[in-house]
Amino acid sequence: MKKIKLIDIAHGRSGDKGDAANVGIIAYDSKGYEIIDKYLTAERVKKHFEGICLGKVERFELPNIRALNFLLHNTLGGGGTVSLKHDAQGKTLAAALLRMELEINE
């Protein structure tokens, strides 16, 4: 087992879709994509965002650009101008996901 920081192998961008946040994570190379494809599961992401994402997490794959897209439902405090959050659009949530450490089998 080896621990790697997600931020060392991937970048990304996040934004809002109503009360859901979208978090796109992109691996820098194909080896990185193999790792995120295998280890960055919807369950793992849901657990990471405990207390932030109050709904389900959906995962979509874009192997063509080495990316995963996550939809975090019920996350933005109502979304739009309803949200009282400082980050009402979830703009910083891609960085929040990149805080994650993954335990991988080499």
């Binding site: 961008r13 192997p63 960085a95």
Partner: protein, 455 residues
Amino acid sequence: MKDKIRIGSGQGFWGDLIDAPYHQVTAGEIDYLVMDYLAEVTMSILQKQKNKNPKLGYARDIPELMDRILPICKKKRIKIITNGGGVNPEACADSILEVAKKHNITNLKIALVLGDNILNRIDDVISHDCQLNNMETGESISIIRDKLLSANVYFGAMPIVEALQKGADLVITGRTTDTGLTLAPMIYEFGWYKNNYDLLSAGTVAGHILECGGQASGGNLLADWRSVPDIANIGFPIAEAYPNGEIIITKHESLGGKVSIETVSEQLVYEIGDPKNYITPDCVADFTSIKLEEVGKDRVKVYGIKGLPETEFYKVSCSYSSGYSAVGTLTYSWPDALSKAKKADEILRKRLENLNLKFDEIRTEFVGYNSCHGPLSTDIDEDRINEVMLRIAVRGEDYKSIERFGKEMAPLILTGPPSVTGFAGGRPKPADVVAYWPALIPKKLVEPKVEIVTT
């Protein structure tokens, strides 16, 4: 037929870099300038402005911008396409005609795309075979019917294509998809058929890449953000489109920023849902088919795109009034900055409770500590942290409660924890909360209209 066209993005939202469109039309060659001004909330703000003054309701940056770029665009034959007409494309066009007159520009053809605003006929629409239920929650629109502020259908590229076919130099639309602004000139110039969904999807993907302006050319870039050259003079992205659906994303050489696989792929994943079904009024693009290749400095080829037929519905974006909110901030310094901010929050909440005020939500965040990443934030060392901003936000239906909250923030300075500052802005004022109601409407119930006005 032209062998290629260059479409430059000029604005990613209303409030974006004022000079970007000017640089886009002067720092190199483009054939089309496309500008997106409308966020979901914008329509309701514009509708309110129009209710007060029938000559308002469009992006008022436009006349000033046209004063700078219209003579240049006319001379260089650059066509302009924008959704900045908001809820009043007619008034927007009038303001541009005045600018044209001032510059003695004759034979200017402005096309208006109308028919997206269904607020006045909403009851007819609902009584037809269409419920306008909330797409996300399934709730019936009847629960917010009396509070509706705006209701606009998202049109796609086709009305803009019609406008270009009628010889328009400028196309001013109301609610149009951001992607349609970029797709339309490709359909018009290359004669793409309405049912060639791979080509329509290629243009749609190009539109998605361009729709947030500088976000595709080095802005908001997480991948090695320090590496972006001369971002102060960032050049907005340009889509160089070819008749076979290949797109090259680039920028003017003399401007700053960069275009790379990283800048393009970050924008591709921005605000998307299911990548296999990117739904627009024109087609359903498959983002998992997109291929990217760096083909030169600041040149990324986007190709291989597949798509499916459009659906039978337009999306409708409604907004409605949903009470009031206010935000107050205070800054606490070392020593014990976070403890002081937490104590101040506790005191304020106690006072609000004593006053029996009514709120739907009170939210406290500590800027500099956890306002972005919440529970994921690493623990703070009280001895080392220099300062923390306490941010308290409230929301509710009762205006008086929200207003009174605003009057309870400042007193914390003299009647709360010490070493506090940052109250120069005055009392937090209640703001209208505008909530968003997405719905679907059968396409047959709405008819886009294209009108031409000339100087």
